[in-house]
Amino acid sequence: MGIEGIGARVARKEDKRFITGKGRYVDDMVVPGMKFAAFVRSPHAHAKINGIDTSAAEGMPGVIGILNGKQISEDGIGDLICGWMIHSKDGSPMNMGRWRPLAEDRVRYVGDAVAVVVADSKARARDAADAVVVDYEELPAVTGAVDALKDGAPQIHPEAENNLIFDWELGNGEETDEALKNAAHITEMKIVNNRLIPNAMETRAALGVYNAAEDHYTCWTTSQNPHVARLVMSAFYNVAPENKLRIIAPDVGGGFGSKIYIYPEEIVCLWASKRTGVPVKWVADRTEAFLADAHGRDHVTTVKLATDADHKVTGLKVDTVANLGAYMSLFSSATPTYLYASLLSGQYAFPAVHANVRTAYTNTAPVDAYRGAGRPEATYVVERIMETAARELGLSPAEFRRKNFVREFPHQTPVIMNYDTGDFDASLDAALKEADYEGFPARKAEAEKRGMKRGIGMSCYIEACGIAPSKAVGSLGAGVGLWESAEVRVNAVGTIEVLTGSHSHGQGHETTFAQLVSGRIGVPIDSISIVHGDTDKVQMGMGTYGSRSGAVGMSAIAKALDKVEAKAKKIAAHQLEADENDIVIEDGTLKVAGTDRSLAWNEVTLAAYTGHNLPDGMEPGLKEGAFYDPQNFTFPAGCYICEVEVDPETGRTEIIQFVAADDFGTIINPTIVEGQVHGGIAQGIGQAMLEGCLYDAESGQLVTASYQDYCMPRADDLPSFKVSTTETPCTSNPLGIKGCGEAGAIGSPPAFMNALTDAVGHNDLTMPATPQSVWAAINGTTPDAFA
C-alpha cells in the first residue's frame, strides 16, 4: 500500500491553493471582451406578465442588450427538464409543467427569472435590470404542499390539475395494513421535515462564451457534473450540439447537491453570448442564491409503526406530501420517491413497509436533492418513530432497535433495497460505549440540580450511496445511466494523470484518488495528477453526488489501473524474460516474484513510449480507460448519539456531546472521512436546531432571504464531535468503499431531536428547534413561527 496509499492520513494536496486564496473559481475567470449579466427577477410569487418595458433601461450607460423570454423561445431554446420519470400508482406519467429559462407569460415564484441585462459592468447591469419595468398582474399564491393539493388552491401549471405532480407508492401495502390490523401496539406521528436552503460558500456562477468563427460555445460554470450539463444542454435545451459545447467546472466552492442541476442562468449566459456577441458572465449574489438555488427537503408525513407483543416491528406505513416548488428541477422527482421510500426499512428487518408519496407544485423555489437527498427524510421518519415507539412501550431505545436489527446479509427489504453487508450491533455498541450511555441518568440528575433539563437520543441510520446500477435506475425511470468513467494516462517518465468523470468541489479527490494510484503502483502522490471538470479533457462522466465518487468513480479508476498494470507487466515480463503472471508491482518496481530481478516503474513506462523493445504486436504507449457500472447501491450505516442540555428559562439548547460511529466500508483517508462526518453532522444539526426556510403563506415572499434570518450553523453552536468507524467492506465494488459524504447530515437530525424531546419530556417539537420553540414547548405558550 505504501505510506500514501489507501488508509493513509495524507494531508490534502488541494488545500494549499484553497487556503492561500489561489483557487480558481468561475468568478476568477476573465476572457477578453467579457461583459456582465444581471437578471430581472419576479418580486411576486405568482403573476401574469402583461408586458415588459425596457425603454428606460436600454438607454442606460453601458447597456449592451436586454433579452427576454420571447426571444429565447424564438431562438428555439428548449424547456428545462426533469430527468427522472415517475409514474403515479394509477400508471399515469407525472404531470410536468413547462419551465422556460426566462418566464414568458407567467411567473411562479419570487425570484423567477424574467429578463436579462448584459452591460459592461456588474453594477451597470444591475442598475439597468432595476430599470426594466414588468407589468405584472398578481395572482393568488400557495407555498405549502399540503395547501397546494387542496381543492380551490391557486393553480400553478395547466398540466398539473390541483397542483398534483404524481401520487406514487412503494412497498407491500396489503401486508402493511394487515400488520397494523393485528398490531399489539401502534405508534403514530406527524413528522415535518423542514425546508432548507443549501448555502454553498461559493454562489452559482456562469461565464458563457460564443465563438462565432468556429460556431463553438464554452461555458465555465459551478457544476458538480459538467458532462451531464453538456448532455442536457445539447440534447434538450438546444444550446449547441455536444461537439460544439465545452463545459468547464473549475474549482467549485461546495455544492451539497444544489450544483447538480442545470439552471436557467447558465443556459441564458451561453445563449446571450451568441445574441449579443460578447462573452457573458453572471455570478449570483447571496440574495439570488437564497431565492433561486434549488432548496431541499420540505416533507409533511404521517407515519404508523406496528409492533407485536414481542416488540418486533411488523409494519411501517408512511404517507408523505413533498413540496417540489414552482418547477420540476432535474432530479426533483427521484428525491422524494426512490431515494426516500427505499430507505424506510432502516437497519431493521421490517416485514412490511408501505409508502405513499404525493408531490405538489407550489409558488416557491424548485426543490431538489440536498446533501442526503431523500435519505435524511427517510431516516428522520424511521428513527423518530423507533425512538418514540420505544418510549411508548417503556423499552430502552437501544434494545428496541437491537431487537429489530437486520443480522443476516444479503437482506432484501420490502422497498427495493438489497443490503449487501453491515454490522449494526457493532456501531451501536461502539456509540453506546463512547457516549457512556449507562452513565446518563447520573448526568441528568446532576443537571437537574442546576435547573437544567438533559436528554439523550440516538439514531441508527442506514443510507444508500454509490448511485447506481444503470439498468436498475433505468427501469425505475432515470433518464441517464449512473456509471462512471476513468482514464489513466502514464507518462514516459512514469508520472501519472488520472482523468475522471467525478468532480471535486470540496471532497478532496485530488488527494484520495491519487492515494489509490499510489497504493497500487508505489509512486508518490506528488507524481499523480487528477484531472476533472472539463468536457474537452475528460471523457464522458456522470459527476459527483450521492456519495458516489469513491464507490463508483474510484472503482472506474481501479478498473483502468488493472489494464495499465496488465500491460506494464507484459512489458516487464518481456524485458526480464519472465512469465507475466510472475510479475508483481511493489513500491514503484516491477519484480519477478521470488527473484532479485526487477525493473523500475519508470524504466517500464519509458520502454512503453520508446517502443524499442516491446513484446511482438504490442502497441506503444501506456494509457487505459474504463467505464464502471455499479452492481448495487452501497449501504453506509452507523449509530449517532446526541446528548443535550436545555435551559428551561430561555429554551436554549446546548449539545453536550455528539458521538458518531459509522461504517463506511474501506476508508481511503481517515482525515478526509472525519472532515466529511464533521461537516455532515454540522449540516444535520443546522437542520435540526437552526435552519428554517420560511415563505410568507399569503404573499409567497421568502421571509428568510438573508443570514439575518436564515440561521447557518456556526462553530460555537456545535460540540467537539466524537467520531469513530467500524468497517465491514462493501461487497459489490472492487474497493469495498461505501461512501461517507452524506451520512452526517442523514443520521444527525433524528439523534438531536430524540435527545431534545427526551430533555423536554414530550414529542411536540419540530425542526428547527429554535430557542423560542423549545421555550414554547416547555411552557406551552407561543406558537412557533417555523412550525
Binding site: A123, R126, D127, T287, E649, T650, G651, R652, L690, L694, V703, T704, Y707, Q708, D709, Y710, C711, M712, D717, T770, P771, Q772, W775, A776, N779, T781, T782, P783, A785, F786
Partner: protein
Amino acid sequence: MYSTTYHRVSSVDEAVKLLGDCDEAALLSGGQTLLPTMKARLAAPSDLIDLGRIDALKGISVDGRSVKIGAGTTHAEIHASKEIAAVCPGLHEMTGVLGDPAVRHMGTLGGSLANNDPAADYPAAILALDATIHTSKREIEAGQFLVGLFETALEDDEIITAVSFEAPERSGYEKFRNPASRYAMCGVFVAKSAETVRVGVTGAGGDGAFRWEAAEEALAQRFEASALEGLSLDPSEMLGDLHGSPEYRANLVRVMAKRALAKA
C-alpha cells in the same frame, strides 16, 4: 453598491460643513452597518464623510468615577481599557460580547448610537448608566437621545462627539442573541448607584430600548434576583419577529435581568 463620493475629514467642524454642502451625505465611522447596507443597495448616500481620522473623537478618560469616551472609540478599545473594566465592569462585559471580532475592532460607540438599532447593545447601557451624549451642538440625556426604532434626537447637521457618565457602584450586562443574526434579542444592563438602580433593556421593546422601571423600583428595595420574581412585562409592548414572539421576549427580559444582576 451605488456610486458615491468619499470625503476624509480631519475635524468635526469640517464634517459638519460638508454635511450642509452635500446633497444626501452619510457619516462613516466604523462602517459596520452602513457599508453592508450600501453593498446591498439599500442605502445610496451621495457622499460619504469619513470621521475615522478625527483624533478629537477618539479616546477614553476616567477621572475618579467620571467617564468620558470619544464617539470614534471602537468597542474593542473600550473593552480593552483597564480603567473602564475597573470602574464599570458592565460596560467592559458588554463591549466584549457586542457583535463579532470584526465589528468590535471596526465599529465605534458613536456610530452605533447614531444608528440606534433596536437590537444594538449600547442603548441599554446608556439608559442604565444615565449617560450624556455630547454632540457638535449640545449635550443630550440618554433618555431624550433615543427616540424610537433607528431614530435619535440628532439633527441633520449634528455629530456625536462623546459619551459621558458617572460610573455606578455596580453594573452588569447579559444578553440573549438572535440565533441567526447574533444581535441582541434581549439585552439587559443593570446599574446600581448610591440611591438608585437603573435597568436598561435593548432588543425587546416595541419602540426600541427602554428602562424597566418596575424592576428598578424592586431592585432599589432589594438588589438581588429574587426581587424580580413575580414581575412581568406586557407582551403588547414588546417586539415580535420570526425568532422571538413578544411573549418570549417579555420572558427573556426578566431572565436576562436576573443574570445581569448576578454579574453586577
